[in-house]
């Protein structure tokens, strides 16, 4: 038999071989699991789009008890809340990452870093409860008829996605070579100018990744959102929609899955929502990956 030439390794180390094979298997199995999940979602979710007419799907009414499956209010609700959450979280997170990595003295960093990581560990139901009892009354004082609004949800989501964005953005800043900072400072730039014009742009693709991970976290969050957004499946098209209740796809699945009869249209429709969520996060990740890839091809930095 033709064995591949292995000039450096005359003897095969079987222990290493098995461990390598095992690790390879585990690595590929995660791809396999994602594929299986996708297939399962397709199998359970696709029938919904045949059982329900397109006119019904694109309507503005989500009343599953009465076979009205308008997806638009849920889709727009999810998008509105996620986009607002990221708009709030992004500047705060990048500023925090810059503070922790570039500005703060070592002892402050030692305190801040573990605290930020601890934030990520707060269970979402606890944040939801805080949102319901503390944040909602404040939002109502701003003039909304109720405190349970899309904005309240976005605030909670921003808070939840910040630890993710901060730690990934901070790692990206960390990966910018020290020579860049030295070069900036030696050109006569102040520390602020160096950070803002050199270090942060050099870490931009890492920050994009951070934001995409944050979006992924925010769009998939369920419990906290269900508790603070009021879950009214209305179309968020007017200007005041941010300060009105909204209903997300995740909250809809969580609230209604417990009740549906297995195999009913409503059941398939909820899996259909899951499929839409899955594809949305997939597309977001794809965009993130391609921006990073393009930057690199152009000879850009990290």
């Amino acid at each position: 038999m033709n064995t591949p030439p292995t000039p450096d390794k005359p003897q095969r180390n079987w222990g290493t071989f098995f461990i390598e094979a095992l690790i390879r298997l585990l690595g590929f199995s995660s791809i396999g699991f994602v594929l299986l999940i996708f297939l399962f979602l397709m199998q359970e979710g696709i029938p919904a789009f045949f059982k329900v007419s397109p006119g019904n799907l694109l309507s503005e009414l989500w009343y599953p008890t009465f076979d009205l499956y308008g997806l638009l209010p849920l889709l727009l609700g999810s998008i509105l809340i996620t986009v607002t959450a990221i708009a709030i979280a992004l500047p705060l997170s990048v500023a925090t990452a810059v503070l922790v990595r570039e500005v703060a003295p070592a002892w402050v960093r030692e305190i801040l870093k573990p605290m930020i990581e601890a934030l990520a560990g707060i269970p979402s139901v606890v944040l939801g409860f805080l949102g319901m009892t503390l944040v909602a009354p404040i939002v109502q004082k701003l003039g909304a008829p109720t405190g349970l609004t899309a904005f309240t949800g976005a605030l909670i989501l921003a808070y939840m996605s910040m630890p993710t964005i901060i730690s990934v953005a901070e790692d990206a800043l960390d990966a910018v070579p020290k020579s860049y900072r030295d070069a900036g400072l030696s050109m006569g730039a102040t520390q602020w100018q160096t950070i803002w014009r050199v270090v942060v742009p050099a870490a931009r693709s890492g920050i994009v990744t951070a934001v995409m991970l944050g979006i992924g976290r925010a769009i998939g969050e369920t419990m906290a959102v269900m508790m603070v957004t009021g879950n009214a499946a209305r179309m968020p098209l007017t200007l005041d929609s941010l300060f009105r209740p909204a209903r997300t796809m995740t909250a809809t699945i969580a609230a209604e899955m417990g009740e549906v009869a297995h195999g009913s249209t409503h059941y398939h429709m909820l899996f259909g929502l899951g499929l839409i969520l899955f594809m949305l996060t997939f597309i977001i990740n794809l965009i993130a990956a391609s921006t990073i890839f393009k930057k690199r091809q152009k000879g850009g930095l990290r």
Partner: protein, 311 residues
């Protein structure tokens, strides 16, 4: 190609990422272990206990869950050999479990639908219905709201957005924020049929899309407590003292009645309903003894929890 790809990959993977991946991998491997461990323990427990004692599985309506728990606790105190496990989840959940044969008793705050009975019979199960208590749905507002009484029609108009300001029903100039339970709640269906649609079977009125669907009774009471604009409905058993209960009349000529044990049993309060338990087939043995106990001595627990006993 291959080698180019892998070498460029190597450069990208900085040390922090490697650490993350290891951590994630370890976590991903450990989490299911914890999960399995717990499950095995609980399974083991129920196995050993079922060999010595008798178990009744009881599941369904969230409206009934407190009362069902109180019954189970009181009954188990009197009969230490019995083990009754009670879970909520909504009337539909309980009935679905009865149809699938995974529970002995399903709790429901609505009667079974024709298609549910059909599905049960297809599975070889004949559901038997028992009325175990009565419930009144109270209309609640913030304590500072000056409105004391509403007709059913006004309530229907509020939930369908024909009335949007408290001043239209004699209150302050404030927007109305209507609250409802989630659509898997038996209370939701009951309220829709009997209040929003005013009991008219031909009506196709729905809750307006602006109605807030709260995931729990606690969600409704929390919002009522802090929002002077809100109006909500919930089982009488869940109404706490910091909410204001509205007196309801069938129409503007009728009497405005506050919900209470007396008014519900006298059928003068218009939004009241029976609460059901369903068994798979005519109950026998321990399940029958338990249901007989509920219908007799168990009724004392009903009034203690704010529901309305049968007698």
């Amino acid at each position: 190609m291959q080698s180019h790809f892998s070498s460029s990959r190597k450069k990208e993977t900085s040390s922090y990422l490697k650490h993350r991946y290891w951590l994630l991998l370890i976590l991903a491997l450990l989490l299911p272990l914890f999960g399995c461990g717990q499950e095995q323990i609980s399974e083991g427990q129920s196995n050993t206990s079922s060999s010595q004692t008798q178990t009744i599985e009881n599941k369904g309506s969230d409206t009934l869950v407190n009362i069902a728990l109180a019954w189970a606790e009181a009954y188990m105190k009197e009969n230490p050999d019995m083990r009754i496990s009670v879970t909520g989840g909504g009337s539909g959940t309980g009935i679905a479990a009865l149809i699938n044969g995974t529970v002995n008793i399903a709790n429901a705050s609505r009667a079974m639908k024709a298609e549910e009975i059909e599905a049960a019979e297809d599975n070889g199960i004949t559901p038997v219905q028992f009325v175990v208590a009565r419930d009144a749905i109270a209309i609640v507002v913030h304590p500072s709201n000056p409105v004391d009484e509403l007709t059913l029609e006004q309530i229907s108009d509020i939930y369908t957005l024909k009335i949007t300001n408290w001043s239209q029903v004699g209150g302050e100039d404030r927007p109305i924020v209507p609250l409802s339970r989630q659509s898997n709640s038996g209370t939701y269906i009951y309220f829709l049929k009997n209040v929003v649609r005013l009991g008219d079977k031909e009506s196709d009125l729905l809750f307006s899309p602006n109605t807030l669907l709260m995931p729990s009774s606690e969600g409704i009471s929390a919002e009522i407590r802090q929002n002077p604009n809100a109006i909500g409905y919930d089982g009488l058993g869940y109404v706490t003292e910091d909410q204001k209960v509205i007196a309801v009349a069938v129409d503007s000529e009728g009497d405005y009645v506050l919900p209470s044990s007396e008014t519900v049993n006298a059928s003068s309060y218009p939004i009241a309903r029976p609460l059901y338990m369903y068994t798979a087939g005519e109950p026998t043995g321990l399940i029958k003894t338990y249901l007989d106990w509920i219908l007799d001595e168990g009724q004392a627990e009903v009034s203690r929890l704010g529901f309305v006993p049968l007698k």
